[in-house]
Symmetry: C2
Subunit: 764 residues, 2 copies
């Protein structure tokens, strides 16, 4: 398969010489706290998600999945299933058209669509298309599969031991250990006046977006249309074209309203290709949505990591050395579970070494999950920072302030376009009442109270390619076409605000179509916190292109020079001639051509600098010293993500990120049964995502609203992922402040904590 | 309502300074006889027409129509209908939201959506939305309407008599008689050596496209989406926005596959607005398709004309004077039924006067119908030309050749960019074997054989605005977005060929999306034979823009100057350096940005010249002197429409046009019963459109393939309408040649002809 754009070696470039516009001097719409432009549709139920699609003659498909952690499929007998009422097609590995390679390494594919070697519970074995969903489910039960069960391994430590069951022929270790080193780590530790060394573990977390994953596929001749729950229509288009050997032009992928993805919809999943093949085989449209339970097994996860971090510090707060050894379990198929970036780049430190090794276990493959690797790293790094501060007797905030970087040490010492980390810490601490909150342990019956902090950095700022088209209709309303999906984050709202800012059009007169490879311009998938910083400058450029054309029309009609005219409140005015003006509604040029079109491209990122978002979060907790129960009293997120485009959606992102951080740090964990290799909590009842009861009412967002005008023309950096990175670590540090107990294994849970508290009591 | 673009006083201009590309020196794809790119979809049934759309929860609507030619609705009782099973809404003039003005003159509206004054059989009185089409139909029958029947008038002569029943308060004559005059008509007739004067009548013709008219409407909040059977999505968008008082951005109109329109789908019809209101009222999607029978009454027609034409000629063939008095019946509502253009412009003539008067009758409104007015004019003009030729003893072809214009006399004497009329006549005559066919009356039992010719000109060449986007994907396949509909004429095929020509991409790797106001760029409706000449240059400009970008990328990668590189067979080569080349598939710039986008605009028409297509057709017939039956033995169309883009679709158009010309001249006629005012043949059984039995096997197309490179960058002029203009007149002239009988009233039919033959026999 072609490589996804984010694996290309050449960095993405701007489609053409794209002008960088001067920063906004002041704004009238951008920055305000405005509700979503599509709030009505989303709340009323009129929004059409892919799951809501019904096409005439549509069939319903379902997938038979391997119930074993590791097995060879000896035989699949579909005879009975094929004859069942309503069944129109059964697809297995025996069908040539289904023999599609899947799960690639540099050396080639490691599996195929229905591979007889099933390496995890949930692998695809067969699929059925039937007239109703129930007939499809019944038919699955009628397929008789003969398995040869194999020994399995569901934790990385066991998997990497000699003699462990082999998941791939070459061994269970993913090829290559990634080593990053700068300075001289030995010298660093020699220079240190205090050293902390500790091993941290995080659990595997499942994305579980509200909307499950699925596709509706339909063929017209040799042309495939897929309505998909995806974060990136162009990404899915490319993968479908590769899998089915079609030209890109013959694959149209249409995004609908989206109910979240968190990375699990960043790339294609097998069910999409299966739907397409079944549709071709039956000559009918096919709808294939996986169940909630399937979504726990087969569409990715945040891998579990074991991180040994050793760090040295001088008494003045100078970090002298950091050494991280990380091991991560990528699941049964190729992937990567690195976490090291913040260790190498968040704080100034001369001597750093990061070693990362990944391995396979018999479980579903990892997949990018909101700031892949970063919350795990934060879990280790920020707790160690806490310990280092304690070791040298500095306040944790003060300590972090001694090591604020202004250049990216990881990226060749290039300066940052902006670094708001200091403001995040200082303004966050002030708003939180940090000094008061840290004023010693406070006890309330069995409840111990404490406060903690953690900082963060996010790794990828976004950039080109992004092309957007803005159309200005004769009545002054606007249509905006972009290829980026609004995955539920408010992208459409932000983009409409940019258009409103430039053109003075009311938000309810701006319409944005869904991402669609057939009709919208190319954009990279909505992920990596890069949608706003990548696409909003392209939107602005497109709106400005429209404005320039309107002004040129006005100048012509008013017989003025183009630099004499301005657009204001729906009129084009000639500076200094109060009576020379024309309403846009009376602009002859506009009437003649009916629509003015503006094409905008994302400008190139500055080549000599590096851009990253920063943040700091603060937590106050109470811990019940008898039961180990943790009450999060309040959370505060102070983030530097460049300009705040919409104060309300910005706050939504920070609150949502912190909520997910609570899940990562406190409640969420994939539990694989060591006896059977099967996941025992693959449902929303047993897998605990935070509910309203787990989230404190006292949530605060402190936006560090400093536009990064060097980076792009809207001054924006990413926010979606940073907001979830440091939450768990801040809570862990607060738990430590409350109890004196350093919880190294996430999630913190009453069982674990009660046991640790008991140990503490024993130690006296 | 806002005026449709074609009624704007300022002529349309190009959206921006749009470069005119140099003409193609030679072509490799353009010009070939290639099958439709969407032939598979259309033939296999997988093509989705608007009628094929089913949305979840969709209701079905139907319209109650007035059964009387002229009546006042005194009372509409919907109580019973409302209570019927499945009925979800009933809409009448009592509903405020339905009180939408309709049928406009300069002075304002003349009616409304459900006007109680019904002026023709079929006017809208109420509408119902129900769970099934049958429930909707049943509910219509349960609506009790109390009518006051009024006297009516169904022919124009009666309508314009004093004391006739008044259709509108101001009288039955449409305001204003259009008079065009040049030279001195009296002097012209004084100069003549022969004068012919005769009155011709044509019948009202119904469009009856294969696909009936309908819409599916769906609301999301305050936003309306309509899937429509329309020739122009932007036209319908504008009308809906006006009718429902919405910003254009809140109205999305999506075209699907189309099964013909012939002008009847050039503008919005009431059913579309009714569907939208019912959808809003019920908060459900609503599908409203009219029946075949309704389509005969309510969506337009080619009006009947009475044309008195007097013309003078000198013996050397010089036309000295032409005087046309035309009267046309526009139906019950505003319209125009003029025909005079070819009289004023097809042949050189110094002294011309055209007087045109239109009037109302109690029948459906006229609507643009394939070359509006031109076949009617041709019926009169070309028969008179025949008589003039006979009067001065010249061969009809030879006579026409004496008066070939090189300037448009009607448009200020501006020269034509090209005039292929001479070639049409000369090459057409040669291919037809004209001289042999004219060799005297030939008799075969009761069958008399004769041959006739008629020439034509079409009035409107098209032009801006048109914007097109071409996207070139990383694998070299292409997506093309344009706002022009392919109404069944092969537009998509032509446009794909233009892209293939410029970019060397195979046709099956080019995908074209349907016209959609939400996602495609602005184009005027597909009508007026202007789609190819208006939009193909924009497609070419967009493809060239892509090519230039690819070449720039190649030049950069090959370290060559941009003017040194050429694109050939999927590679970019440096002229003179055989080893410096790169395959497009390896173009780094393309890989980086994944898609190269080209925006193309239609260039401005030349301002100092006039562009018109020309044509000549030849017919040979046999007439049974006893029964009046006419057998068309063969037809030949020789057309100058500029460059022949696709020899196969070109031929399709000519054959289709001639077939429709047979209908106009021989079989089609709206019959309004004088006793009841009702149409007696509003179905495909009684209204005779030509079938395979009526069309000769011997059809010939002689393309005059001379690119009009002065007009636009593809050298194209329009073909769709010219192809139907002269057919009927050529047949009538052939009938004359066979029988000596001049049939002045269309359609020629056995009843009429048998009677004329009997008269002839009586006269001896």
């Amino acid at each position: 398969m072609r490589k996804p754009y984010f694996l290309l070696k050449t960095p993405p470039t701007t489609p053409e010489p794209a002008e960088k516009l001067a920063p906004w001097a002041e704004t009238t719409v951008v920055g305000k706290p405005l509700p979503r432009v599509d709030a009505y549709e989303r709340v009323s139920g009129s929004a059409v998600y892919a799951l809501d699609l019904f096409l005439p003659d549509m069939l319903y498909a379902a997938i038979l999945r391997c119930p074993h952690a590791h097995a060879i499929v000896k035989k699949v007998d579909t005879a009975a299933a094929t004859k069942m009422p309503g069944v129109r097609a059964v697809l297995t590995d025996s069908d040539t058209e289904a023999r599609i390679p899947w799960y690639f390494t540099e050396k080639g594919p490691t599996s195929r669509l229905f591979d007889p070697h099933c390496r995890y519970e949930g692998e695809e074995i067969a699929a059925v298309a039937a007239e109703t969903p129930h007939q499809a489910a019944d038919a699955l039960r009628a397929i008789v599969v003969e398995y040869e069960e194999l020994p399995f391994v569901v934790d990385l430590d066991s998997a990497l031991k000699p003699g462990a069951p082999l998941i791939h022929e070459g061994g269970n270790q993913v090829e290559g250990t990634l080593v990053y080193e700068r300075g001289d780590i030995a010298k660093g530790f020699a220079d240190a006046e205090a050293i902390v060394e500790r091993t941290f573990r995080t659990s595997c977390e499942i994305h579980t977006p509200m909307e499950v994953h699925g596709s509706v596929a339909k063929w017209d001749g040799n042309r495939l249309t897929v309505w998909d729950t995806t974060q990136g229509v162009f990404q899915v288009q490319q993968s479908l074209a590769d899998a089915l050997r079609l030209p890109l032009s013959n694959v149209r992928v249409i995004g609908q309203y989206m109910g979240g993805g968190f990375g699990s919809k960043l790339e294609i999943s097998k069910h999409t290709v299966i739907a397409a093949i079944l549709a071709r085989k039956t000559a009918r449209p096919v709808k294939l949505f996986i169940s909630r339970e399937e979504s726990f097994l087969c569409v990715g996860n945040r891998p579990a990591n074991t991180m040994s971090l050793k760090a040295g510090v001088r008494k003045d707060g100078t970090l002298t050395a950091m050494h991280l050894i990380n091991r991560g379990a990528v699941g049964a198929y190729p992937g990567w579970a690195g976490v090291g970036s913040q260790v190498a780049d968040l704080y100034t430190c001369a001597h750093v070494r990061v070693e990362e090794t990944c391995g396979h276990i018999n479980a579903g493959q990892e997949r990018a999950f909101r700031a892949p690797g970063f919350p795990q790293c934060s879990w280790a790094l920020e707790q160690v920072m806490d310990e280092l501060a304690a070791a040298i007797g500095l306040d944790p905030v003060e300590f972090r302030l001694t090591s604020i970087p202004v250049v990216s040490q990881r990226q060749g010492g290039k300066p940052y376009t902006s670094t708001g980390l200091r403001q995040c810490l200082v303004e966050g601490a002030r708003a939180f009442g940090w000094d008061a909150a840290r004023g010693g342990h406070r006890r309330n019956g069995p409840w111990l109270r404490g406060a903690g902090v953690a900082a963060c950095q996010w790794g990828w700022p976004g950039g080109p390619p992004s092309t957007v088209i803005v159309r200005y209709f004769a009545d002054g309303s606007v249509s905006l076409n972009m290829g980026a999906s609004d995955i539920g984050t408010g992208t459409k709202t932000i983009m409409a605000m940019v258009v409103a800012e430039e053109l003075g059009v009311a938000l309810d007169r701006i319409q944005i179509e869904h991402a669609d490879t057939g009709t919208t311009q190319y954009a990279t998938p909505s992920g990596g916190s890069k949608t706003v910083p990548s696409d909003s400058p392209a939107v602005r450029a497109a709106a400005v292109a429209v404005k320039r054309k309107l002004l040129a029309m006005g100048a012509e009609q008013l017989e003025a020079a183009e630099d004499e005219v301005v657009l204001k409140a729906g009129e084009i005015l000639v500076a200094g001639s109060p009576d020379k003006k024309v309403r846009l509604a009376e602009l002859e040029g506009l009437m003649n051509q009916q629509v003015v079109i503006g094409v905008g491209h994302r400008e190139q990122n500055p080549l000599d600098k590096v851009t990253k978002p920063f943040g700091a979060q603060f937590a106050e907790v109470e811990v019940n010293e008898r039961t180990g129960e943790v009450r999060i009293l309040r959370l505060l997120g102070a983030h530097d993500s460049g300009r705040v485009m919409n104060r309300l959606t910005y706050q939504n992102q920070v609150f949502g990120g912190m909520t997910m951080g609570i899940g990562f740090g406190m409640t969420e964990r994939r539990v694989l049964d060591r006896q059977t290799g099967k996941m025992v909590n693959s449902n929303w009842h047993d897998y605990k995502i935070p509910t309203a009861m787990d989230v404190p009412a006292d949530l605060t967002c402190v936006p560090i609203d400093v536009p990064d005008n060097e980076f792009n023309s809207t001054g924006t950096k990413g926010l979606g992922e940073p907001a979830t990175i440091p939450t768990a670590a801040a809570i862990a540090n607060a738990v430590y402040a409350a109890t004196g107990i350093r919880v190294t294994d996430a999630p913190i849970n009453p069982t674990q904590l009660a046991s640790l508290l008991a140990d503490q009591r024993k130690r006296g």
